[in-house]
């Protein structure tokens, strides 16, 4: 009889799960492309065509290329968390990966935590890269006093968008539908949130909608401490509150609707055909 060892430490398990997800991320070219390569190319194209224009907000003028660079940095963080999780978790569910973990003593929160931590790490790395490009080529400046506000904004936003991604992953019917649904949510939101098209005086409806949904508040909250004229030292708490509220809704939906498998059961034949369709 083997003497039982103590349970492995949760922190060590989360680190292993997150490292596993990071390894998977770099081995799935399409995930890397959509998360970092596509936003980077979009940034290059927009800024190549924007010229020497300025965007005027309440605190002064931004060069448009710097403004767009920070906005797309925020969008990259959303791709790495929301879009990435909403896409990949249903794929893993259809591959039976979630069901496999359900058969082991791995606590559920560690499994989900591993996904979320890896998404946050990818998000921070990608955002840092994009801001670095901004500093190097588009005149973005990151004052030391602004760094705590940037970090706090990224932390709240990435966790919230990760929760929203898990919520979409929980409710989408199939993996093939997940990609379309995630993009159908995030791309229209990006169009009205100053990500690709900076709008100085948008129509009232667009302005209201943009501020209700979480992407524009994130873009604003990341831009505020990086403003070239009047950078804010404190986080934009009211904007973060909107993002966190969406994150809380996402968290509740994700927990309540989480599904381990796509096949609610039945005979061997049905399960086989369901897994083959997946």
């Amino acid at each position: 009889m083997v003497d039982l060892q103590p349970w492995p430490r949760p922190l060590s398990l989360i680190v292993q799960q997150a490292a596993h997800q990071l390894r998977l991320f770099v081995r799935v070219p399409v995930a890397v492309f959509f998360t970092i390569a596509l936003p980077f190319v979009v940034l290059l194209v927009i800024n190549a065509t924007s010229g020497e224009r300025f965007f005027n907000d309440a605190n002064g003028d931004w060069p448009v290329d710097a403004f767009v660079c920070v906005a797309i940095s925020a969008f990259t963080a959303v791709s790495a968390t929301f879009t990435n999780l909403a896409n990949m978790v249903p794929i893993r569910r259809e591959e039976g990966v979630l069901q496999r973990w359900r058969s082991t003593p791995l606590p559920v929160w560690v499994l989900v935590g591993g996904h979320v931590v890896s998404a946050v790490v990818i998000s921070v790395l990608c955002t840092t890269f994009m801001l670095g490009v901004g500093v190097a080529f588009y005149g973005v400046s990151v004052p030391l006093m602004s760094i705590p506000a940037v970090v706090m904004t990224l932390l709240v936003a990435t966790l919230s968008f990760a929760a929203m991604g898990m919520a979409v992953a929980a409710v989408v019917p199939t993996a093939s539908a997940a990609s379309g649904i995630a993009n159908a949510i995030i791309l229209p939101m990006a169009l009205i949130s100053n990500v690709f098209i900076p709008m100085e005086e948008p129509p009232v409806v667009v302005e209201v909608l943009a501020n209700v949904f979480p992407l524009r508040p994130f873009v604003d909250a990341l831009q505020a401490p990086l403003h070239p004229v009047d950078p804010a030292a404190a986080p934009h708490w009211d904007r973060l509150a909107v993002i966190a509220a969406w994150g809380a809704v996402g968290f509740i939906v994700a927990v309540r609707q989480f599904r381990w498998n796509v096949t609610p059961g039945g005979s061997t034949r049905r399960r086989r055909s369901a897994s083959q369709q997946g």
Partner: protein, 324 residues
């Protein structure tokens, strides 16, 4: 009496379909002792998968008692984790990401267990050496199933669930898997197996249960089932009946065996007699041979295969239903 490690009493499972609720398991009892290999057989839709999923903790039941190693598999929290640490499951869908290697999969899957086997131990046990460093996406179907087995045993389980573990295996891979299961059993692992290959159940199982429409039809050791539910087939060559076996001789034999033979089939001069009472059939056959002046040559009396038993039990059930 040996303590049951799997105890199922009066299990009822229903699921919702487009036609309303369907009863997949209907008052099933199942008790499996420590160290036993138990094979659950049944046609598609018989309820064996639903039963196993409830025992694994992967499906809710409507009613009934289920305990595995003394823990209800529907438990949550600490009990759930405790149970998961001591069981291993081979699922039909592999559940391993295609982008990682077999070794990476094993390294990760062993992490949450308290007393896992080492990677080398499992590689040796399941014979993964030739592909352990290949990505899962490059493995053949049979290799993936071997990896599934490896993943299921890496936690050093006391109870192992094998849902059609050798589907897709070639004969030699199947034989290796059987050897592995025999090795695990020798080490005291309790195994609940579902399979479509009856020779697999016959080879591996201490006991077999046949379920149909969510109920246990028969249960026992393969040998007991063969004896209790199957007839024997007696085969003998009739020599000395002239140039062939004429109709009078055939009619005489039929008359002699009336009441003890369920079926008599002639192939040339060889007769196959299916009977539940081979002693009586043998006695009458020898008397008939002496009276008719023929010699009985090249005898054999064989038990039916488990497959013949399975088919007979299922056809009896269907006939019973159509009469009822």
């Amino acid at each position: 009496m040996t303590k049951s490690v799997i105890e199922v009493s009066d299990l009822v499972v229903e699921y919702q379909s487009s036609k309303g609720s369907v009863r997949a398991v209907d008052g099933l009892d199942l008790h499996i002792a420590a160290g036993e290999v138990y094979a659950l057989l049944g046609e598609n839709g018989a309820g064996k998968t639903s039963t196993v999923e409830v025992i694994e903790g992967h499906r809710r039941r409507l009613s009934g008692q289920v305990k595995v190693l003394g823990i209800d598999p529907a438990a949550t929290g600490r009990d759930r984790r405790e149970l998961r640490d001591q069981i291993g499951i081979v699922l039909q869908a592999s559940g391993i990401e295609p982008e990682i290697t077999a070794r990476e999969a094993l390294t990760l899957v062993r992490s949450p267990y308290r007393n896992p086997r080492t990677i080398d131990e499992v590689v040796e046990l399941v014979d993964l050496r030739e592909f352990v460093d290949q990505r899962v996406s490059t493995l053949s179907g049979g290799q993936r199933r071997r990896l599934d087995l490896a993943v299921a045993v890496i936690g050093r389980p006391k109870v192992l669930f094998l849902d059609e573990p050798t589907t897709g295996f070639d004969p030699s891979a199947r034989r290796r898997a059987w050897d592995l299961i025999s090795t695990l059993r020798a080490g005291g692992t309790t195994i609940l197996l579902t399979t479509h290959y009856l020779e697999e159940a016959e080879f591996l199982a201490d006991r077999v249960g046949v379920i149909s429409r969510g109920r246990m039809l028969i249960e026992g050791s393969p040998r007991d089932l063969q004896q209790a539910h199957g007839q024997r087939v007696m085969s003998v060559d009739i020599v000395g009946g002239g140039s062939g076996v004429d109709e009078d001789l055939q009619a005489g034999l039929s008359q002699a065996l009336a009441g003890v033979a369920e079926e008599i089939e002639w192939i040339g001069s060889r007769v196959h007699v299916t009977s539940s009472d081979t002693n009586a059939a043998l006695e009458r056959l020898t008397k008939w041979a002496a009276a008719s002046g023929v010699i009985l040559n090249e005898w054999s009396i064989e038990r039916p295969s488990l497959e013949q038993v399975f088919l007979k039990v299922n056809s009896d059930e269907i006939e019973g239903d159509s009469r009822g």
